[in-house]
């Protein structure tokens, strides 16, 4: 197995891990919202933290699943030229796409890191759960950025080497958001 294949396996593992954690976050957000409704109507005791926590869980869902969406080629793109391009033009366009995502991952990692450092320095706490440091939640942004960067770099390397990437077979199912 070549180094690129090993890297691709690592990327697949990272993407799957992110997806698993994101699925858990999504189910947890579902549970929190349902519990909040039940507590309010059935027990007359609203969960004051439910709105804030479900918001965090959705940030977690989105940031952690982004890497797998990229790995599977599900991020929405206008691929009219891409579909018609051949040879070097096609390679250049595909490389541009993967490299562009890597840049975004890097920016999210860098800017997210700065945000976390600032929140830690100031000691910002949650509004409804006073024991929770906000930086622990904000850390999802640089973590998601790092995962995205890793996947996009592996894809870029494979495109340069003329190897197929998993996204090539991706079923653009993500477009179901429309």
């Amino acid at each position: 197995m070549s180094a690129l294949d090993r890297l691709d396996r690592l990327a697949a593992g990272l993407a799957r891990l992110g997806r698993g954690l994101a699925a858990l976050s999504c189910l947890a957000a579902f549970a929190v919202v349902v519990a909040a409704v039940a507590m309010r109507y059935l027990f007359g005791r609203p969960l004051v933290w439910a709105d804030e926590v479900s918001g965090w869980l959705v940030v977690s869902t989105a940031m952690l699943a982004l890497a797998e969406a990229q790995y599977r080629g599900e991020n929405v793109a206008v691929d009219l030229w891409l579909e018609r391009a051949r040879g070097r033009t096609l390679t250049a366009l595909r490389l541009g796409g993967a490299a562009g995502v890597a840049v975004c991952g890097g920016v999210l990692l860098h800017q997210g890191w700065q945000m976390v450092a600032f929140s830690r320095m100031v000691g910002i706490k949650s509004n409804t759960l006073a024991t929770v440091d906000v930086w622990t939640i904000q850390a999802l942004v640089p973590i998601g950025g790092a995962l995205l960067l890793a996947i996009a770099l592996v894809q870029s390397a494979r495109i340069v080497a003329g190897r197929p990437i998993s996204a090539d077979e991706g079923v653009k199912a993500a477009r179901s958001i429309e």
Partner: protein
């Protein structure tokens, strides 16, 4: 002019094939760096955009749709619709529109509606000799009802971007959605009636008897309870949109587990994974489009547009029609979510200035976005039907053309009669 120039540049950039979120982030970041010298506090900006309680509704509505699809309740919905409409001219088309309308009320997604109903309806329509072009057109167009009949992911996003009540937007989509469904159904009936008259052959099954109708209704009953639970809860002020999404997902899971017995732990886990991935894709676009909006605001473009509208003395209707024309053009080159998030921050100040109800505008925008879903070259529903039917894209595009005209008529009707959209929200139990 600056807005249009930046928009054209962005579209050109996106056509290089980058994922949209990356294209918008890089383009906006580059303009910001050029104009302001820094990206500002991008980390906080991203976290703040995603950490919004109202956005929680989106993964939960997706979860609800996933549970319904994995529970395979669609077959029963389509069967019931067919039993009730099969004696009509174009009965299969009418059944498809009806099934799309009901599925739209449990999915919030047009592509999911076209994909799910199309997979069930298209083979049947073709098997029973329905005109293929008519079949492709009605499934592509019927699928678009997914974003107009509530719940609707694009309406949630418009509500957040414009600070408009999502519950009111959902309610405002009900009558225009039903009207559009009725227009589509009438078109199917008229087309088939004309075909029957030309050929002289009448190939319709007999009207179903009461027993058959009752049996079909019994099979589809539980799936039909979902829209009243979700929409009734919002309408009566019992739930917020986010809570309705959570309760809807719970109800959908209960139906799939208890009634259909086709839903296990594996479906739950995979359904959550699917919902998470789709959420990530959508939220990435939100980040990119929010950066684009942030960049436009920094350059003072929304304020400039307000000044322009005041200078030109545009009336409400003139502005609405001009905006709808712009959205239509954008719909030819961009997908729906980006259009909402790119245009809303620019248009909102003008809507306020002209006294246009954002709920009314939101419904018009949504119908226009439906139009985008069946407009070449990037209409997603066209691609879905092409994949299901295995026919060339141009054939599906031609099939969808009459429905584009019908949607244009629907937009004009809602412009002419705002009450179509605004009456139901005005009767809601809670204020906006």
């Amino acid at each position: 002019m600056t807005f249009l120039a930046l928009l054209a540049l962005l579209i050109g950039f996106l056509y290089l094939g980058l994922p949209m979120f990356a294209g918008m982030m890089i383009f906006s970041g580059a303009v910001l760096l050029f104009a302001e010298g820094s990206l500002g506090t991008l980390g906080e900006f991203v976290f703040g955009k995603l950490n919004t309680y109202l956005l929680v509704a989106i993964p939960l509505f997706m979860l609800m749709a996933t549970f319904m699809v994995r529970g395979k309740v669609v077959d029963d919905l389509y069967h019931a619709a067919h039993v009730f409409t099969r004696h009509l001219p174009g009965g299969l088309g009418v059944a498809t529109v009806a099934a799309c309308g009901v599925f739209a009320a449990v999915s919030g997604s047009s592509v999911a509606t076209a994909l799910t109903i199309g997979a069930v309806a298209l083979p049947q329509m073709l098997r029973y000799g329905y005109d293929p072009r008519g079949a492709y057109g009605v499934v592509a167009a019927g699928g678009t009802l997914g974003i107009l009949i509530p719940p609707s992911a694009p309406m949630v996003l418009f509500g957040i971007a414009s600070d408009t009540s999502i519950g009111a937007l959902f309610m405002a989509g009900v009558f225009p959605g039903l009207m559009l469904a009725a227009i589509f159904a009438a078109w199917c009936m008229w087309g088939e009636w004309r075909r029957e008259r030309r050929s002289g052959a009448r190939n319709r099954p007999p009207r179903a008897d009461w027993g058959e109708m009752a049996a079909a209704l019994r099979r589809a009953f539980w799936a039909l309870t979902l829209p009243p639970v979700v929409l009734g809860g919002i309408y009566l002020g019992v739930f917020t949109a986010t809570e309705a999404a959570g309760i809807g997902a719970l109800w959908a899971a209960a139906i799939a587990v208890v009634v259909y017995r086709r839903f296990g732990w594996r479906d739950l886990w995979e359904g959550a994974g699917d919902a998470a991935r789709t959420t990530a894709v959508l939220f990435a676009i939100i980040i990119g489009a929010a950066m684009y909006g942030f960049m436009l605001a920094k350059l003072g473009i929304p304020d400039g547009l307000v000044k322009l509208v005041v200078e030109w003395k545009l009336s409400r209707i003139e502005f609405l029609l001009a905006t709808m024309a712009l959205v239509f053009v954008l719909g030819l080159v961009l997908e729906s979510i980006s259009i909402i998030l790119i245009t809303t921050p620019v248009v909102m100040p003008v809507l306020k200035q002209l006294g246009i109800d954002p709920v009314w505008y939101g419904v018009l925008l949504t119908i226009n976005l439906e139009l985008a879903l069946i407009s070449p070259p990037v209409g997603m529903n066209l691609v879905v039907i092409k994949q299901i039917a295995g026919v060339p894209l141009y054939e599906v595009e031609r099939a969808a053309l009459p429905y584009m005209v019908l949607m244009g008529i629907a937009i004009l009707l809602v412009v002419a009669f705002p009450g179509l959209a605004l009456w139901l929200p005005s009767t809601m139990q809670l204020g906006r």
